[in-house]
């Protein structure tokens, strides 16, 4: 189970829409909370949230949506309060979610990585990992509320599937997840077909190679 710390990046799913806040599921003992006042308004306005904003909450985030957010504070009972007060957080569009144990995600300076193979990944500290196609240009909309629903090209989808299988392989072999390990694992898996990565023999081979390269990097 995930125990929240202030400043962690998490990826969560909205489970409930309540009066002035959203309940977010983040693989912890208690549901996390995203207050309306911690959410950026579209257009980047800074004002007190009115009753109209409350009624329009469902237009921003509904049950079942995925968001990326940062932990603002932790309540005394362990529940976590989230905020999305930055342009890089907000609703997530098309991509693949992988659920792993929170202890396998390494704590780093940044958890948003644009991998050179053509996809981007968000390593949530709560164990939810989001893989998505790298957006073409940096959109300037506040909070990222609008989701891009255009079909993702096959080449991007292959990269994303391969990354997903690599992450599953690393998790099965209990290796820490960070951008370098994922990238090395991806490169080690290139000679194999995407669906073969999940076979036990291939998985062991790839992870062994990744482990070797990481040791060489350190030593």
């Amino acid at each position: 189970r995930y125990n929240g710390e202030v400043g962690d990046i998490v990826v969560g799913r909205i489970t409930e829409v309540q009066q002035k806040r959203w309940k977010v599921e983040t693989n912890s003992r208690l549901d996390s909370v995203l207050l309306l006042s911690s959410m950026n308004l579209p257009g980047g306005e800074l004002r007190r949230r009115s009753a109209e904003d409350e009624l329009a909450m469902r237009d921003y985030l509904q049950e079942g949506d995925l968001i990326s957010a940062e932990v603002q504070s932790v309540f005394s009972d362990g529940a976590v309060s989230l905020h999305t007060r930055s342009l890089k957080y907000g609703k997530l569009g098309q991509g693949v979610l992988v659920q792993v144990s929170p202890s396998l995600v390494k704590r780093q300076k940044t958890h948003f990585h644009d991998l050179p193979c053509g996809a981007s990944v968000i390593l949530g500290n709560n164990g939810f990992i989001w893989i998505y196609p790298t957006p073409e240009q940096k959109d300037e909309e506040a909070g990222g509320f609008t989701t891009n629903l255009e079909p993702v090209p096959l080449s991007d989808r292959e990269v994303i599937s391969r990354l997903r299988n690599c992450i599953v392989a690393l998790v099965t072999q209990q290796l820490m997840l960070f951008d370098t390990s994922i990238l090395y694992c991806y490169e080690a898996s290139l000679p194999h077909q995407i669906k073969d990565i999940l076979k036990p023999e291939v998985m062991e081979e790839i992870v062994l190679e990744t482990r070797q390269r990481l040791l060489d990097l350190e030593g």
Partner: protein
Amino acid sequence: EDLRVDGRGCEDYRCAEVETGVVSNTSGSARVKLGHTDILVGVKAEMGTPKLEKPDEGYLEFFVDCSANATPEFEGRGGEELGTEIANTLYRVFSSESSVDLKSLCINPREHCWVLYVDVLLLECGGNLLDAISIAVKAALFNTRIPKVRVLEDEEGSKEIELSDDPYDCIRLNVDDVPCIVTLSKIGYRHVVDATLQEEACSLASLLISVTSKGALTSMKKVGKGSLDPESIFEMMETGKRVGKSLHIALQKILDEEESLGTSRQKVGFLG
């Protein structure tokens, strides 16, 4: 395009492990691991009286138990509904006359016959339960050894059943015509075989067809809230037959390989 989230094509199965002879006090058993789905099947052969309408045949009884370990929803009595549904599907699939040679299970017409109690235990639920269950049932039936019995008649006319003393003297079932279930789930405009839990959540309707090794369909069932177009049903049936045939070939190969290793085979079982 033919690409799913884990890189498989629409007609690819996940990596499957099949092992027979895992439970020692049954007549036959098998364990199948298909991705995260784990199924254990045990077959017990017992003597019983034949059914009134079929006096010279034995029969099969299915029982499905959803273990509470499988998913949290199966706690307490939660899994019973799913269990009865799966058992009913199995009865339907095996209701065809040609699947199992029931006449070979008869000892004395109208008086004694072999009843095969097939018990299915769901250890872990990882999507695509019925396919894994049908593979396990076929493997367990292949592994089943029924002891040979002789019927002796007394002077008074009462019959006695004699069991042979040799534990290796037994009859095997012919599983060539036992069907396997292929579940085709409709997602969007395409259909996929062997859906994971996430893919099952996205699909509104699925078609369950049972295919024999020769490619003949023995039964068909539609599940799910959504509706299926008649044309897509034809396509799914064709895909199902193709996939079913290759599944049978692969399964038979593994069963034969396991058989040929004989008693020197290292059993992995549960603790390996």
